[in-house]
Each structure stands twice: as structure tokens, then as C-alpha cells.
């Protein structure tokens, strides 16, 4: 089970893992919250890659995992637009009158949204930008808002914008990691798994240099800073 924001990199990781071990991995994509609920109700998943640490921690506390969650990567935030708007790391550009809507993921449920809000707070722009903010259910919806032109700019994950299929679609900039805490991505093995060995192999693989390379390619950081 994979959280929505990790699905791009997951494909690549899956292929690499399969090449290495010959074990096929099926990924089930959904939002972290729904996956957590499903796991609580006995969903037949083996490994859970969450978009944050909170959900896997909850599962761990309920005794549904084999061990405490492990961070396998950190996501980083980017600002993305399809238009001609100049983007700057101080986010001042968001005040541009031609920008009607700024898409961020729901800060209550999505870690990237939470990060975006804390960044806006840090740059003291939150109040001014607030009327323009629209909330996506997840990063995926933010992406759709930006791609359809419904929102002129959006805060999304770096892993999204560097996906080859989106090459040339608008421009984006990295946002300084100062204003928000890096988005830790946790992984846990679920107790109900019937393939404990393969699951362990997979989590181990996530920490391997090969996996790290892939993660980095997709815009993840593998260390905290």
C-alpha cells in the first residue's frame, strides 16, 4: 500500500526491486488516511509506505506493525506554475494580482499541505495569500488544479514535477527547507503479512544505494537536511 504522493517513484522502485530479487510487488495507491483505516480493518497489505510518520506511528501504537516506522526518504516542497509568473523562493510572487488561486494540499490531512502552510507562515505571507488558497484533497489534486489551469500556482512535491511525463509543463522552483520541516516518509511492515520475508527484503531494499539513487532522481532527499 502506497500513499498517493509516492506513486511515481514507487513504479521505479518496484521495477528495480523486481529486477534484483525477482519478487513482484503490487502497489495499491490511496490516501494515507484511507489506507490506515483499511489496515486497521484488516486489509490484506504487506508493506505500507506512508506520506508521513503520523499514520504509521498510529498503526504501530495499535500493534499492527512488526516494528516502529522507519523513515526511508524526505519529500521536498516545490512551487509550480504553468503560467509565465516569476517564482521566487521568498514567495512574494504569490501576491501578483494575476494569480487568483494558490493550490495547496489540505494541511489537516496532507503533510505537503502542512509544510506549505508553515512555509507561508514563516515568510509571513499567510494572511495575504489566504484568500487565494484553495485546498486539494491531496498532492494529486493540487497537481490537477495546476495542470488544468484552475489554479495558477500550486505547492506540490518535487517528485511530481520532475516526473518525465511532465517535462516542459510550466516551471517550478525548489523551496528552502528552512521554512518547513522536511516531510518524512515512513514505512512499516504489517503484522498480518503472509510474506514477511519478502516484505523485509523490500524495506531493506529501500535503504540500499540503488533505491536511494532512484529516490533522489525523483526529488526525494535521503537525509534530513
Amino acid at each position: 500500500a502506497v500513499a498517493a504522493n509516492a506513486q511515481f517513484v514507487m513504479e521505479e522502485l518496484r521495477n528495480a526491486f523486481q529486477k534484483k530479487t525477482g519478487i513482484t510487488v503490487e502497489s495499491i495507491v490511496n490516501s494515507s488516511g484511507k489506507l490506515t483505516t483499511q489496515i486497521q480493518q484488516g486489509a490484506p497489505y504487506d508493506v505500507f509506505l506512508s506520506a508521513d510518520m503520523a499514520y504509521p506511528t498510529t498503526l504501530h501504537e495499535q500493534g499492527l506493525t512488526t516494528a516502529a516506522p522507519v523513515v526511508y526518504a524526505y519529500g521536498s516542497l516545490v512551487l509550480w506554475t504553468l503560467g509565465e509568473f516569476p517564482l521566487s523562493t521568498d514567495l512574494k510572487g504569490l501576491l501578483n494580482g494575476n494569480i487568483r488561486h494558490v493550490a495547496i494540499a489540505n494541511p489537516a490531512t496532507a503533510p505537503y499541505g502542512e509544510a506549505a502552510v508553515s512555509l507561508l507562515k514563516y515568510t509571513k505571507l499567510l494572511e495575504k495569500v489566504q484568500p487565494k488558497i484553495v485546498y486539494g484533497e491531496s498532492i494529486a489534486q493540487v497537481n490537477q488544479y495546476v495542470l488544468t489551469g484552475s489554479a495558477e500556482v500550486g505547492f506540490t512535491a518535487k517528485s511530481v514535477v520532475i516526473d518525465p511525463s511532465l517535462k516542459g509543463k510550466g516551471h517550478w522552483i525548489d523551496l528552502p527547507a528552512k521554512g518547513y520541516s522536511p516531510i518524512a516518509q515512513g514505512v512499516v511492515i504489517l503484522k498480518r503479512t503472509s510474506q514477511l520475508k519478502a516484505a523485509e527484503q523490500f524495506t531493506a531494499f529501500l535503504g540500499s544505494p540503488a533505491a536511494r539513487r532512484i529516490l533522489q532522481q525523483f526529488g526525494y532527499r535521503t537525509t534530513k537536511s
Binding site: T36, Y55, T58, H101, E137, Q141, T148, S150
Partner: protein
């Protein structure tokens, strides 16, 4: 935990407005479908049901494409009447209209088609137009079907969520309706709050539905 009533009122407003507009659009359309002998009628009937077969969030995605200020329709609307359909209550209404249309049209059309032909014929021979016949004679005589159309549209709009989430952008007081609020709480694993919201929504809806059915019974008996 304090309950935020705003999403609930917003939902009821959305559902009421949508149902009302659907009645205004749906009655003539259903009447036309029931009375006309147009050869391509089955095509129109099938098209009306089509939005249903796509998942709401996907319909929402296509509407987003159409409504967005850079899109053809959305841009035109923005320029000419300065109405923006994405991330606004108006947009939710338009999207709900489209998606709930079959729930209004089909029952009413079926109801009209089941009426004895002689009523229509009698009204025609009395010199009355098909429109007047529809309003004064046919529709008042298929109340159960009208009721079905209203209840299904209303209930469906209350529960609609994928579409609303997509088009609306979850803006408190504007597009953050109850279904999204509950959804968020479930996502957050705040089950208690979700239960409360769900119970409230169910209770209110139950009261409204009961009222509607109760009145219907009074009227028809």
C-alpha cells in the same frame, strides 16, 4: 468538541438550490422526452445518464478542464459575465446539476409515460398547448414520480463528494460542504467527530425526507 455548523448549512443550501434548479430544468426536459416522438430520443436518454458512469472525481476533473479560466468555457464565462465556476459555490451548483440530472429526469419521464394517453388527448382537444397540458394536467397527476425525482436529486447532492471536492477546492464557507468535512475527519482518523457529523447529517436528512414523504402521503390520500 465544538461542531462547525457551517458545512452543514452549506450542504443544505447546495442541495436545495440544486434540486430547485433541477426541477426548473428537469420538468420541461422530462416532459419533452415523454411527449415527443423524436426519432433520436433513445440517444438523448442515454446521454443524460452518461455522466453517472464515470467516477465523480473524474467527471470533476473534466469539468475542471472546461471551467478553468484558461479553458474555453471557463475563460468565456469569466470574460463575459465575470462568473468563475472553479472554486466557487456557483461552480458546485453547476456541477451538481449536471451530475444529478438523470435522477430528476428519468423518474419524471417514466411517470409521465405511464399516464393514460386520453388525458393528454383530452387537453389537446380542449385547445390547450402541450406545455399547459404538461403543467396543469400531466405533472400534477404523477406526484409519486415527482417526489422520487426530488428525493433522489436532493439526497444525491447532499452525499456527492468526489465532484464537489474536485471543483470546489474545499474552501470554508464557500465550498466546504458537509460531505467533505466528514471525509476530512475520517482521513484524520478523528472518528468521533466524523461520527457526530455523520449522525447530524443523517438526522437532518432523515427529518427532511420524512417530512417530504409525510406531506406526500397527506396530499395523495
Amino acid at each position: 468538541m465544538p461542531i462547525d455548523w457551517e458545512p452543514i448549512w452549506l450542504t443544505l443550501r447546495l442541495a436545495s438550490i440544486t434540486t430547485l434548479l433541477l426541477l426548473i430544468i428537469g420538468l420541461p426536459l422530462a416532459g419533452w422526452l415523454a411527449l415527443s416522438r423524436f426519432r433520436l430520443k433513445p440517444v438523448v436518454e442515454a446521454i443524460i445518464s452518461l455522466p453517472l458512469v464515470l467516477p465523480p472525481s473524474v467527471v470533476g476533473f473534466y469539468l475542471l478542464l472546461a471551467f478553468s479560466p484558461t479553458g474555453g468555457l471557463g475563460g468565456w464565462l469569466l470574460r463575459t459575465v465575470n462568473v468563475q465556476l472553479v472554486f466557487s459555490f456557483e461552480g458546485l451548483v453547476v456541477a451538481s446539476l449536471l451530475y444529478s440530472l438523470p435522477f430528476m429526469i428519468h423518474p419524471i419521464q417514466a411517470g409521465l409515460e405511464n399516464l393514460p394517453a386520453s388525458w393528454r388527448e383530452a387537453s389537446y382537444t380542449l385547445g390547450q398547448s402541450p406545455t399547459r397540458t404538461l403543467w396543469r394536467v400531466l405533472l400534477p397527476n404523477c406526484k409519486p414520480a415527482l417526489l422520487t425525482g426530488i428525493v433522489l436529486s436532493f439526497a444525491h447532492t447532499i452525499g456527492e463528494f468526489g465532484l464537489v471536492m474536485m471543483i470546489g477546492g474545499n474552501l470554508p464557507g464557500q465550498t466546504r460542504v458537509a460531505s467533505i468535512a466528514i471525509y476530512d475527519e475520517v482521513e484524520l482518523l478523528h472518528f468521533e467527530t466524523a461520527h457526530t457529523y455523520a449522525a447530524l447529517l443523517l438526522g437532518l436528512s432523515f427529518a427532511i425526507l420524512l417530512l417530504v414523504y409525510g406531506i406526500n402521503k397527506r396530499v395523495t390520500v
